[in-house]
Symmetry: C2
Subunit: 585 residues, 2 copies
């Protein structure tokens, strides 16, 4: 029980020397990758770069204690950073103390929400985000993020929360381009794109193994950072208008306290919920993919607790919302991390960096960080998915496009909310008109098939309807209409058989609709029969008065229903009495 | 086509003399019943009594043109009147011109919404109101309405939008009871209760036929109205503090115009939507029940248009939101109405009443109207449903109780919204963890059954999972977890067969989950196979790359899958190549 809530007790008990060295190696590699990334994502979130380092220390330790994935690497990620910027920007100006306070409070709210969802086992709510909605959101976020960073590469002022505003702002300020910044930024972008594709093959030519080469190529951003720092110093670019990171406070993360201001909380809880759910969905997908590769399992509800703890830790150590990142987790996995301890060692690495390396970052151009963001997020933009969705499912395509459109035009929050609403409406619409078929007997067999797809026997006084769905309140009204319309088309009808082989459950509304159909058919002198009712469904029906009131019988098989009712095409009798006499169920 | 939007063209063409006399008779009976009811419900809505008469004239004509039910009687009803009082009371004080304007605007908004929902064929949205939610709402509304009218019977001041407030207000004012009012009101309540039960049998004893007696008993409220007017005049009760209806304007409905004030509309659109949906659900249930009795059909989407037209008519003729009422529709049906023309004739009857009878109503005690409301709505309170729901389905019970509780404590709007949310959350929760079973072969047959319910054969290297639900984004994550957990339990596993006999559809998220399962199983050297895939599902899968990437085969039947894979328990090979060699689908 304790192990369920503290997975560290599970893997910690078996911790060996071999695991230690594997975890340490992975931690070194992830640390090198994480330093420029943390600085860059903090910039994207509109926060001082050092906040990115703070968000990569205690949260990793907290996740190592509570998380269930052996290899997930937690920290600042692009999409959540953008959402943080959007939410904090709505309550305070970037650069103000209130803005930082809002980011810290977002982390706290998100942490509490994640932990509560996990403890209440409400992880299923994340299901409301379908793949098309997530894919649309991530594509649109990638476009938004890349656009938002363009100004840093151009060395101009600007802003905007949505795409039209960002583009307008860029267009207005384009005349004030700072050329040295653009050269540095442009070269960094070009270098980083090349590193992604061409660096690993080059390293391999020097005799490095493929795996090591791919791993070494992940240090590309670190090289870009080092080279541009040197360039700034050598060429004296600080005097030529190139914006630099400047003084970064040296030392361990400060102790911070989230705001208890109810007004602020009421403004931030919706974005915090969205950050939580988006972060959870991203994180759990990565964790599941990696776990499956080693035939391990993660516990999604405990993952909520782990991510919740990480965010609460972020809130109390000057950080901002974090989650499991895709790229860094893959690096952690490939570098051979065996347990969440690798995350804790990474935290030590980042802590050492924030103690000793920060003075070196003084001359780092903002444009370099912007370049690392642009190159990282452009890989998020996925142009194949809309094409694939259009071909596979128009409804999913609609949800995808609605999410992209609303995210670009109205920002991240409206984007996610619209996607969820469109997806849910389409789902409910489909659920409210499930598949059903009029079936007839395949000649000389006991099988019954759809009359529209097969050559089957039917009888004018007997209507067999197969319902391919559980009867719930969403389709109850449809059921009434469907049955009564089919009945209205057949004036000679005496019996209706509902074939329930695919009915897994009948809720109270479904039951009332069956009762209504029974009474209405009874008023018209038509018997209602059920066939192939599943065991658990029948058990529940037996507890009600429905079977007593049924103007007909319940048959074990559709075949026996057909056989017994086929001959009963006589004069309009009272079906109920007739079946009562025969011994109704 | 034209007939679809103007059903009057359909039945009007066949209108005969016999139909005319039947409709006229029904109209006379419904008019007599409707006069006191319209006055009382306007009172309940916090409006001058004459507004109830106005709402029973033009809306009936509009419904006769656009509605599809032959016998639905439209006009003010109790629940919608209460909702009107709640919504209008939130923006203006009862008795003010703004309050009446708000009621008229509600009718207009509700009319437009209904008509738009109908034209867009969005009637399925009404499905979100499950029977337990509607039943809970109606029970709670009955309690609220009866409580709200108690003060009129007691002759005291008071108010309140929810039950605790109403009870507090009653308790505070109870010392100021007006005894003559209480006597009149109490006697009226007692008389009306007796009329419901004892009047028809008494009339039958005088030799009247049962049907006529029941019909005549519906005139009970008219008798109560007449008797109490006489009592007021004879006993001079006006001077003893008994509140009277007073001067009712004589004449036809005035031309009124709904407000175009955007501020007002933004306050009223949510209640208007709720009024529309509740009104539609109530109305369409009544209409369907009555139509089925005569083997007629109604068109729900056109019903939305009909009710929309009725409400727009109400808005332009000084009325307030209307819908199809249960009691009056049954009376109309029983009195032999054949076509919607009966409603138009009723409108003429009410118009004559508002022209000539209103002076007679001067001495009508408010307490009499309150008594007719109390007796009418107490029949709405249903104590059996919660018991039944508790026994049948705990989830439905929860939605029912949440609706009752929230309606009583927080008012009608929050009640409906909470009920819908609780119902939807429970539905989504269930949809996110559908039924699935590990199946094995029933010995010496081709049948496969749940291993937990039947004695069946299984093999250690072969896992057959039957999924009893379509694969959608709501259960995609569950599917991944379910399959991978089952796989993790079986170390010797080489093949997984998903038996898809109950999978009616696979959406894009479901497909991605299948792909993820396929890749993860492939990473572990396990083959994924599908069996009994339905034709339409297979057609769509063929358009994707899924079948090419599948580490296994698609089998027509579970039996052939079992037969072919049962023997393949050899050394860990590469399943994909193996099946490619065998000629994969």
């Amino acid at each position: 029980m304790l192990k369920r809530y503290f997975p560290i007790l599970e893997w910690g008990a078996q911790y060996s020397r071999a695991t230690l060295s594997a975890d340490m190696l992975a931690a070194v590699i992830v640390t090198i990758m994480l330093i420029p990334q943390s600085l860059a994502y903090a910039l994207l979130a509109g926060l001082p770069p050092v906040v990115g380092l703070y968000a990569s220390i205690l949260p990793l330790v907290a996740y190592a204690i509570f998380g269930t994935s052996r290899t997930l690497a937690v920290g600042p990620v692009a999409v959540v950073s953008l959402m943080t910027a959007s939410a904090a920007g709505a309550v305070a100006a970037q650069g103000s103390a209130e803005y930082l306070q809002a980011a810290i409070t977002l982390a706290a709210l998100s942490g509490v929400m994640l932990a509560v969802l996990g403890l209440l086992r409400l992880g299923f709510l994340a299901n409301l985000l379908s793949h098309p909605v997530i894919a649309g959101f991530i594509t649109a976020s990638g476009i938004l993020i890349a656009t938002s960073q363009l100004r840093h590469v151009l060395g101009i002022a600007g802003g905007g929360e949505n795409w039209p505003d960002m583009l307008t702002s860029l267009a207005q300020n384009i005349t004030t381009v700072n050329w040295p910044t653009l050269v540095i930024g442009g070269l960094a972008v070009a270098f980083l794109f090349w590193v992604r594709k061409g660096f690993a093959p080059l390293l391999q030519k020097t005799g490095m193994s493929e795996k090591t080469a791919v791993m070494a190529a992940k240090a590309g951003p670190v090289i870009a950072v080092a080279l541009t720092i040197v360039a700034v110093i050598v060429l004296g670019l600080a005097d030529k208008g190139v914006k630099l990171v400047g003084a970064v406070p040296q030392g361990m993360p400060p102790f911070s306290v989230p705001s208890m201001n109810l007004g602020l909380i009421s403004q931030l809880w919706v974005p915090a919920l969205l950050i939580s759910i988006i972060g959870f969905v991203e994180s759990v997908s990565v964790a599941q993919t990696l776990a499956a590769k080693r035939r391990q399992r993660i516990a999604p509800d405990q993952e909520l607790v782990g991510l919740g703890a990480a965010n609460i830790a972020a809130a109390f150590s000057g950080g901002y919302p974090v989650t499991g990142g895709f790229a860094r987790s893959v690096v952690n996995f490939d570098a051979g991390a065996q347990t969440p301890a690798a995350g804790a060692y990474t935290a030590v690495g980042i802590a050492l960096a924030s103690l000793f390396l920060t003075p070196l970052l003084f001359n780092l151009p903002i444009a370099t960080l912007a370049a690392t963001i642009i190159v990282a997020v452009l890989s998020l933009v996925d142009v194949k998915t809309p094409v694939r969705l259009w071909r596979y499912s128009k409804g999913d395509f609609a949800a995808h496009v609605a999410t992209i459109g609303m995210t670009l035009l109205a920002g991240v929050e409206m984007g996610v909310i619209s996607g969820v609403c469109v997806g849910l409406l389409l789902y409910l619409w489909k659920a409210s008109r499930p598949h059903a078929a009029i079936v007839g007997r395949v000649p000389e067999t006991e099988h019954f098939r759809n009359v529209e797809r097969h050559k089957v026997l039917t009888l004018p006084h007997l209507l067999s309807i197969r319902i391919d769905e559980s009867l719930t309140y969403l389709n109850a009204r449809w059921l009434e209409e469907y049955v009564l319309e089919r009945v209205a088309e057949k004036p000679e009808l005496r019996h209706v058989i509902l074939m329930c082989s695919a009915v897994n459950a009948i809720d109270a509304t479904g039951l009332e609709s069956l009762e209504a159909i029974n009474h209405r058919l009874g008023d018209g002198g038509i018997g209602l029969h059920l066939s192939e009712v599943k065991g658990p469904v029948m058990d529940r029906l037996k507890d009600t008065h429905f079977l007593e009131e049924l103007n007909g019988k319940v048959f074990l098989s559709q075949d026996s229903a057909w056989s017994q009712l086929a001959s009963d095409d006589g004069s309009p009798a009272e079906p109920k009495d007739q079946y009562l006499a025969r011994g109704m169920i």
